[in-house]
């Protein structure tokens, strides 16, 4: 026989990308930034 009051703090579920996917996306972003930087540097040189 339960004597104590039972309190429930509800929450949420979230589908999060796998760490591998996040790392891949970050690498892609860094690559894009580097590419844009190089192109801009080349354009300024000419």
């Amino acid at each position: 026989m339960l004597l104590l009051p039972l309190t429930i703090h509800n929450g949420s579920i979230t589908i999060v990308p796998e760490p591998g996917s996040l790392a891949l996306a970050a690498l892609g972003l860094i690559g894009m930034i580097v590419l844009a930087y190089r192109r801009r540097k080349q354009a300024l040189a000419h």
């Binding site: 026989m1 339960l2 104590l4 039972l6 429930i8 579920i13 979230t14 589908i15 999060v16």
Partner: protein, 154 residues
């Protein structure tokens, strides 16, 4: 006067320690995409020892989904298992009655096989929820939704 204050303080202290509480804190649960069989443990935390003779354990995601009159298409809650290894009721339970209204509602209910099940001080594993994010419905699933538990220990 001084004695009265000391008495009041002692009374408050006794009342404070005698009154316990039992808490389930669900928190934020991360799920991986496209993966079946993702298990999440639900613990009940008690301040003082107690006991129970059975449980009704409901889990609802979002508004309950279309089968319960809602509109949310949530990740799939597959089962609520409150008699598995390490759970409070593992060694003392009748056959559980399990039912689900996929994708957003599942529940289990049963009584102890005999006597009572002790609830010790501290955290105890109450049940294990299993989710599936691999099945692709016609309508895309929400990537995030509320999870609401309704637990009756009696």
């Amino acid at each position: 006067m001084r004695n009265s204050i000391l008495f009041a303080l002692a009374l408050a202290l006794v009342a404070g320690t005698a009154q316990g509480d039992m808490l389930i804190d669900v928190g934020q649960i991360p799920l991986l995409p496209n993966q079946a069989g993702q298990k999440v443990n639900v613990f009940v935390n008690s301040d003082v020892p107690d006991s129970t003779q059975g449980i009704v354990f409901n889990v609802q995601l979002g508004d309950g989904g279309p089968l319960l009159g809602g509109v949310d298409v949530t990740p799939l809650i597959v089962t609520v298992n409150a008699v598995g290894p390490g759970t409070l009721f593992e060694f003392n339970h009748n056959a559980p009655f399990n039912e689900s209204f996929p994708p957003s509602f599942a529940w289990t209910s049963f009584a102890d096989a005999g006597g009572v099940v002790s609830i010790p001080v501290g955290p105890s594993l109450l049940g294990v929820l299993t989710f599936d994010t691999a099945l692709a419905p016609a309508i895309p699933r929400l990537s995030s939704s509320e999870i609401r538990l309704m637990v009756i220990l009696n």
